[in-house]
Structures are given as structure tokens and as C-alpha cells.
């Protein structure tokens, strides 16, 4: 979170005191009917919804229906933006007639109705925004799905009545973003509570379909003892909170109304992606490294190396006045930081640039790097038999310890075997593993070669960092803060293109991952 000044903090307290949350309902009978049918379908499918076939059918349908309920774009506009292959989906629906005959009728109806809606060139969510702009001149708009931010911002920019509307992210509303009026597209419970309890606007309009329930109201967060004897409690107090009102008298929920969670697409789950993801799955031939799954904005994720001392390049837009580009240990990665990834050509953006810096010698040096790892793995395999990489590392570690290398750790040896590692930090460790690999006589030469690669990697890292800093200094980071994602083109200077993604979570669980999957963007929606 960026530091705020006293005047700004005073304005925030002012907003908390004066803010009014106004619920505005919109209608669309066709979309209401579709949403209810979809809920019935999901309920009838039940636990089978997790099956591969149902995921491929229901996933795009639920995401598209959710987009219609939550995005202020004409439905036809959304059809192009969701990227759903409707022909493929139609085929799957037809197949389901034989696989799931009980659900086919309903599924067929839902799919057909959804595709008919996507032909409409309007949405009920836009008219209230136009009306608010007439009232407030400018408004900020918050969407539930940040992946739609850019598309909606482009649409606003191209629309005369909506030109003064700007899209903001929930992250921006943690910090110094402040506006006269904020329009929130969807029921309150779709958004972090602070959007309403710590408002950055004088008025918040919650624009939502009438048939989605929305019962949110500010409530105490602390447990407390009610003191009935005193007018003002001596142990618990609540300051003035935003007031809530509705623009319509008829906002009593109906029985058939949907719960906000019913509309949301399924929570993405990491399913392994077809490669080893735990020690029990890792084969002996796999070049695997320990990794953690870093969750990114928009239901994406990436594996980051989790071995001792591994770090990732991030943009830190918090604390200082200017964003910083720095390396951060995996344990220090935090929600709200922006992780830098190579956009194309694999996840590693340092190695290709380092090879360019090494010039013609890179081929020979990389060959030597691959050679000592291959000899190390082969020797382990010959000495201890066919085992997983992790088991072999442990056995090599015991062997080295018996030879007097008391500081050997299984995790380190595991990492040294992987292609990601250039060299151990200490020369004596390197000498010990080369001796084990049968390369003792070439220790000096290979060590020098690895030092040269290491230097090139460091130079490449510095160059990338410098190029990024130049890019950042000359560019507004608002798209990054709004969309949680931004591309940086460093191609003209040899750096390729990088993308920064906002980190949303870094669970502690570790996986064994093929080293070439480190840094590769995964889409958890698919």
C-alpha cells in the first residue's frame, strides 16, 4: 500500500463519514431466466460438475453467463471478448445427449438461450452509468472480473456518453485512488468488504440485477461484550459508517432470487497441468526442481523456484513514491506485488539474454554446464539405481557426507542437478560433486566456465532491471494497477517482452516441477 498524506487520510475519514451506498437495480428477464436455468443445471449435475467433460461444457457457459451479469458491455461485444469456441461447445452439448441424457434437455436450452443473448447489442448495465455521468460528470467503475478491465476501459473510451468513466481495480481502492462517485457492477458480496467499509468515494452506486440477492450491510468485526448499563461502551466503539439506501421501494428479495455465489464461475483449481507435481510423481529422468505455485490476478498462476536462495524479479509499487524493480526471495513474495514473467518463448528471460551477452562462447559454455549435470545424474543413477530425482539427491548427499562434505544438503544437490542451476555457491562443494561425477581433473576449467555463465546471468539481470526501470520511469503504471497486468516491450534493447502480473496468493505448498515449467504462465480457468 502506498503511503498516504495527512490531507489524503483526512479525506478518507471524510468519505467514511459521509459516504452513501445506493443500490440500483436493473432488469433483463431473458438473462434472469437463463441464470435460473443455469443454476438448476449445475444443481442437477451435482458433484459430477468436477468431471473433465462437464468442466469443458459448464466452464465456458458459466463464465459467459457471469460476464453478462457483471460487465457493462453490450452482450454482442462480450461474445467476441470471451473467446469461447461455440462450435466446439455445441459439439460437446450434442455428445452429452448420449452421455448425460438426464441433463441434456436443460443443457441444450441453456446453451441455446445464452447464444441468443449474445446477439443482443445492448446491456441494462450501461444506462445507469450514463445517468450517473450526467449527475457527477465523472465516475469510476469497479468490475468483479479484473480480466475484463481493459476491454471495458477501451469501450468507455470509444463511447461518447461514457468517455469520462474510468475503470478501477479493487487494488487501487486500497490506496490513494479517490473519486466523487464509484459505480460497482454487481452485488456487494462480489467485492472485498473494504470497498464499502473503507470507501474511497463520497457515493457508491451498487448496480446489480434485481434477481441477485444483496444483503450486505456494515457490521462489527470484533467480538465484544455488550454493556447495557452505559450509553457509550468503555470497551467497544464503532465510528460512523457509510449509510445504505435503495433507489427502489420494491427491493424485497423474492424466493426465486439467486444468491450472488450462484452466479460466480467455478473457483479455479490447479490440476497439475499434465506434468509431475509432487515428489511421488517425479520420474528419475525428469529435470525437476522444487517450486511454489504463485497465484496471479485473473485466475492465472505460475510456478516459481522454491529452492534455497531462489528469487524472482518483481515490481513493487508500494511504499515509495516511484515503483521499484527488485529481486525478492520466494518467501518474501507478497500479495499485491507484481511478478515479472517473460511473455513469450518460455518463462526464463535471463538465460536468453545472458547467452546473447556471452556471444559465440555461449554454446561451448552451455555444453559444459549440461555435461557436468548429465555426468552427475548418470553417476548417481549408476551407483544407486533407478530412483526419483529426490531420492537420488538424498543418496548422493549421504555419500558426500560420508566423504567429509558435512554441509551437503539433499535439497541443494537436487537443485544442482537441475538445468536451472549454474553452480553451487562454494567452490569446495563444486569440487566434491565433480569428483563424485568423475570429472575431478576438469574441476578448474568447468568452475571457470560456470563463473563466466554466472557473470553473464548477473549482467543480464541488471540489464533487464535497468531497461524495466527506464520503461517504468517513462510510463504510467495506472494500467498495471487497474488491470493487475501490464506488458513491457524491451525488444529493441534485446530484452524481449515481459509482463507483470499482480500476485494474489502464494500458498506454502511445494511441488516438484520440471525446470522448464518454472515461470510459465498457467491459466487456471481452462
Amino acid at each position: 500500500m502506498k503511503p498516504l498524506s495527512i490531507p489524503y487520510a483526512t479525506a478518507v475519514y471524510g468519505d467514511a463519514s459521509q459516504c452513501e451506498i445506493i443500490r440500483q437495480w436493473v432488469d433483463h428477464p431473458g438473462l434472469a431466466e437463463l441464470s435460473r436455468s443455469l443454476r438448476a443445471l449445475v444443481q442437477s449435475v451435482g458433484d459430477e460438475a468436477a468431471d473433465e467433460v462437464w468442466r469443458r461444457i459448464l466452464g465456458p457457459i458459466r463464465r459467459t453467463a457471469f460476464a453478462l451479469c457483471s460487465t457493462p458491455l453490450p452482450f454482442a461485444h462480450l461474445a467476441a471478448g470471451t473467446g469461447t469456441d461455440w462450435d466446439h461447445l455445441d459439439r460437446l452439448v450434442r455428445q452429452s445427449k448420449y452421455l448425460y441424457p438426464d441433463c441434456y434437455e436443460l443443457l441444450h436450452r441453456v446453451s441455446g438461450e445464452l447464444q441468443r443473448l449474445l446477439l443482443e447489442n445492448s446491456t441494462p448495465l450501461i444506462a445507469p452509468l450514463e445517468s450517473l455521468i450526467q449527475q457527477h460528470t465523472t465516475i469510476s467503475v469497479l468490475l468483479r472480473n479484473p480480466r475484463m478491465n481493459r476491454m471495458v476501459a477501451d469501450y468507455f473510451a470509444s463511447s461518447r456518453p461514457l468517455r469520462t468513466a474510468s475503470v478501477v481495480s479493487a487494488s487501487q481502492l486500497r490506496g490513494p485512488h479517490q473519486c466523487m462517485a464509484l459505480a460497482v457492477m454487481g452485488p456487494c458480496s462480489w467485492f472485498p468488504e473494504y470497498v464499502f467499509s473503507a470507501p474511497r468515494a463520497s457515493v457508491i452506486h451498487v448496480i446489480s440485477y434485481r434477481w441477485i440477492r444483496d444483503g450486505w450491510a456494515p457490521s462489527p468485526r470484533f467480538l465484544h461484550k455488550t454493556d447495557v448499563r452505559k450509553s457509550a461502551s468503555q470497551t467497544h466503539r464503532i465510528g460512523k459508517m457509510p449509510a445504505i439506501r435503495s433507489d427502489a421501494a420494491a427491493d424485497v428479495p423474492a424466493m426465486e432470487d439467486l444468491h450472488p455465489a450462484d452466479i460466480l464461475p467455478p473457483v479455479p483449481v490447479f490440476r497439475g497441468g499434465g506434468f509431475p507435481y509432487s515428489s511421488s510423481h517425479a520420474g528419475e529422468s525428469a529435470d525437476v526442481v522444487p517450486a511454489r505455485l504463485c497465484h496471479l490476478i485473473g485466475n492465472r498462476a505460475v510456478f516459481v523456484a522454491a529452492d534455497d536462495g531462489a528469487s524472482s524479479l518483481i515490481i513493487d509499487a508500494s511504499e515509495t513514491e516511484h515503483a521499484a524493480v527488485r529481486r525478492v526471495l520466494v518467501d518474501d513474495l507478497e500479495q499485491g506485488m507484481y511478478l515479472l514473467l517473460r511473455t513469450s518463448g518460455g518463462g526464463d528471460f535471463i538465460a536468453p539474454l545472458a547467452d546473447r551477452l556471452l556471444g559465440k562462447s555461449s554454446t561451448k559454455l552451455r555444453h559444459e554446464q549440461a555435461e557436468w549435470k548429465e555426468r552427475l545424474s548418470r553417476q548417481a543413477f549408476e551407483q544407486f539405481g533407478s530412483k526419483s530425482r529426490r531420492e537420488l539427491s538424498s543418496l548422493v548427499c549421504s555419500h558426500l557426507q560420508s566423504q567429509g562434505m558435512s554441509q551437503a544438503h539433499s535439497a541443494n544437490i537436487h537443485y544442482w542437478m537441475s538445468s536451472k542451476c549454474i553452480r553451487p555457491r562454494k567452490r569446495e562443494h563444486f569440487a566434491a560433486i565433480l569428483k563424485f561425477a568423475g570429472l575431478e581433473e576438469r574441476t578448474e576449467g568447468i568452475w571457470s566456465a560456470m563463473l563466466e555463465i554466472d557473470r553473464a546471468h548477473r549482467r543480464a539481470g541488471h540489464l533487464i532491471r535497468r531497461m524495466l526501470l527506464q520503461k517504468i520511469a517513462g510510463a504510467s503504471l495506472e494500467p498495471l494497477e487497474r488491470d493487475g497486468q501490464m506488458d513491457f516491450e524491451l525488444g529493441d534493447q534485446g530484452g524481449g517482452s515481459l509482463s507483470a502480473y499482480e500476485i494474489t496468493d502464494v500458498p506454502a505448498q511445494e511441488y516438484d516441477i520440471p525446470s522448464d515449467r518454472i515461470g510459465v504462465l498457467l491459466d487456471l480457468e481452462e
Binding site: S17, Q234, G239
Partner: protein, 332 residues
């Protein structure tokens, strides 16, 4: 900062000075409240939910330091007098004969006159007549060792040769003798939070004191807080910063005298259990990614450790968008 104070603290807003807003005054009052709360068998835990964490922890700490300075502890006066007795003759000291006045001095051999003990502080060189002040126990705190410096006495010196406290500090302390704040290092409170953010608020935010509508003195919160990480080795400190990335040392944990102020959820979740005997103030920003975790932790402590003992919070309404819970927790 009651209405009887002769000054009004101001902050800068677009080039103009404005009086400190009510929310900031409230945080100062929370800190002041702690200074008078006993902590023998239980300590006070005050958790504050706010719409923005900005300046909350800094102002709470200011309230604690100001109030602590005003608490004249007779024991500390006596023990300070004893420590002065043990100083080697020739030790440099600062002598504060009155408010806003400070002189360079050298300790001389103590004397006993008419059955009463006196510290002797020489303030003029021998060539200038060797003027020496006799200081008894009641004025012991006017003499403070000047650590890390050495000086020769001038022939004569005016009564403002050294300024150990500025007008900004003098005004904030009101009737309290600023000598207590001036030279003696101690850790009244520890601030746990992000270093850059707190440094911006404590060291880089200009504030001013206005008297009768006119600016009287300028300063920063650091002038009062004297955070250990923002001073040079020659200066004394009154509070300590614990950055989020570094574990507080056992020395630091044991030397905090009054309380700990957690600026945000992460610091509280990481080091909330480190100080088991000192008051705690926990400032929780509703927008903090770890807000819910911190709320759960506070609620767990409230339900498990709370003791129903006298517990009060500052008078007046809680700031808008805030929620405040204060309870007493048994000291293990």
C-alpha cells in the same frame, strides 16, 4: 491534547497549514491513555480498525511518548542522582538550568554540605572563573550525561549554548520539562511496521505549532518520537522501530517500557506474541490483505485471555469508519 493546551498542532495541505484533524487527535489520545494504564498483572490491548492505516500508529506513539515524559517518577529521579554520583570527574554533561536553556558542563567531584549531597557541574573554564553549579536530588534530571561527545568548557557561556529540545518539542510537552526527552535514551514504545512508510510519516512530514493563529514552531513527529533507527549514534532515542522483515531482539523486547504499537496486520501476526507484558495497540487497515487473519487473532485473544477488569478507552467518538476494541489481558 485537551482544549487547555496553549498550542494547536498543524499539518501542511497544499501549501497552507491546517489544524490537526480529529481522527489524528483521537490516535494521540489512545497513546496518552496507555501511559496512565497500570500493567502489573494484566495489560491493555487496544485494537483499532481504520479505513486507512496512515499515521495512526505514529500518532498513537506520540501520545505515549508525550504522556510518559510528563509522568515524573520520584524513583527515577533518585536513581538518576545516584548514577550521576558514579560519573568520573571530567565527564561531559548537559546542564538545563531552566526551560529552553542548556549549558555544556563537566562533572566535578560531588560534595556533602550540611548533611546534604550535591552534584557539582562546572560550566565555565578555569580561565573564565570556573563557575560551578551545585545540583541536589530534586534537580537531578537537569543534568544529563552527553554521551559520545567530548568538549572543552568556554570561558563564559550564555544560557542557550546548546539546544537539546526545540520549540516544537517544548510546546508539545507543555508543562513537562523537556530535559527528560532530551538526552536520556529509553524505549517508551516500539513501533512494528514498514520502515519506509513509517519513516515518511515520522521524519518527512512537516508539522507546525500555531499559537493564537500564528505559526510558532516547525518540526516533525521524529522530534518527539526519536525513533532509534532514524537518529545518529550521538542522539538519544525514545522509541524503537521494528521493521517487518527483522525479528525483534530479546534485548529490544525486554527494554520496551510502556507498549508496542503494531502498524498493520502483518507485523501483528508475525510479532504479536513477542511482547507478553507490555500494552499493545494494534492498528488494522480494512484494506490490508491480511486484515481478516488479524481480526481472527484479536478475537481469539479477546475470547480466551480477556479478564474483566477496569478497562477504559479515550473519551469521544471513534473516528469515522473505525471500530475500537479495548480489553485487559492477563500477563503470563
Amino acid at each position: 491534547m485537551g482544549s487547555t493546551k496553549p498550542f494547536v498542532l498543524h499539518f501542511e495541505d497544499s501549501g497552507k497549514w491546517s489544524s490537526l484533524p480529529e481522527w489524528a487527535e483521537y490516535f494521540i489520545s489512545v497513546g496518552r491513555q496507555l501511559a496512565t494504564a497500570p500493567q502489573q498483572e494484566s495489560r491493555l490491548v487496544t485494537a483499532i480498525i481504520v479505513p486507512t492505516r496512515a499515521y495512526g500508529a505514529a500518532f498513537v506513539s506520540v501520545g505515549m511518548v508525550i504522556s510518559e515524559a510528563s509522568l515524573r517518577d520520584p524513583d527515577s529521579q533518585a536513581s538518576h542522582f545516584e548514577r550521576l554520583f558514579e560519573l568520573v570527574p571530567g565527564t561531559p554533561v548537559v546542564f538545563r538550568p531552566g526551560k529552553g536553556k542548556a549549558l555544556k558542563g563537566l562533572i566535578q567531584m560531588p560534595e556533602e554540605l550540611d548533611g546534604k549531597l550535591w552534584i557539582r557541574v562546572q560550566v565555565h573554564s578555569a580561565a573564565g572563573g570556573g563557575l560551578t553549579h551545585f545540583v541536589d536530588e530534586s534537580r537531578a534530571l537537569q543534568v544529563q550525561p552527553a554521551r559520545g561527545v567530548g568538549w572543552k568548557l568556554p570561558k563564559k557561556q550564555r544560557k542557550d549554548s546548546i539546544r537539546t529540545a526545540n520549540r516544537f518539542v517544548d510546546s508539545l510537552l507543555g508543562e513537562t520539562d523537556p530535559v527528560q526527552l532530551g538526552l536520556q535514551s529509553k524505549i517508551v514504545c516500539a513501533l512494528v511496521g514498514r520502515r519506509n512508510t513509517l519513516e515518511q510519516e515520522i521524519r518527512k512530514t512537516p508539522l507546525s505549532i500555531h499559537v493564537n493563529g500564528t505559526m510558532y514552531a516547525e518540526g516533525q513527529l521524529q522530534d518527539v518520537l526519536r525513533v532509534n533507527r532514524f537518529i545518529n549514534p550521538q542522539q538519544s532515542h525514545r522509541s524503537a522501530l521494528v521493521p517487518l522483515g527483522s525479528e525483534p531482539s530479546s534485548d529490544l523486547i525486554s527494554s520496551v517500557e510502556m507498549g508496542v504499537v503494531f502498524d498493520g496486520a502483518i507485523g501483528f501476526l508475525k510479532w504479536g506474541a513477542a511482547w507478553r507484558t507490555r500494552h499493545q495497540v494494534i492498528v488494522l487497515d480494512r484494506t490490508d490483505p491480511y486484515f481478516d487473519d488479524a481480526i481472527s487473532s484479536v478475537n481469539a485473544r479477546f475470547s480466551q485471555n480477556r479478564i474483566d477488569d477496569g478497562c477504559v478507552m479515550p473519551e469521544g467518538d471513534a473516528p469515522p469508519g473505525s471500530e475500537i476494541l479495548a480489553f485487559r489481558e492477563a500477563i503470563e
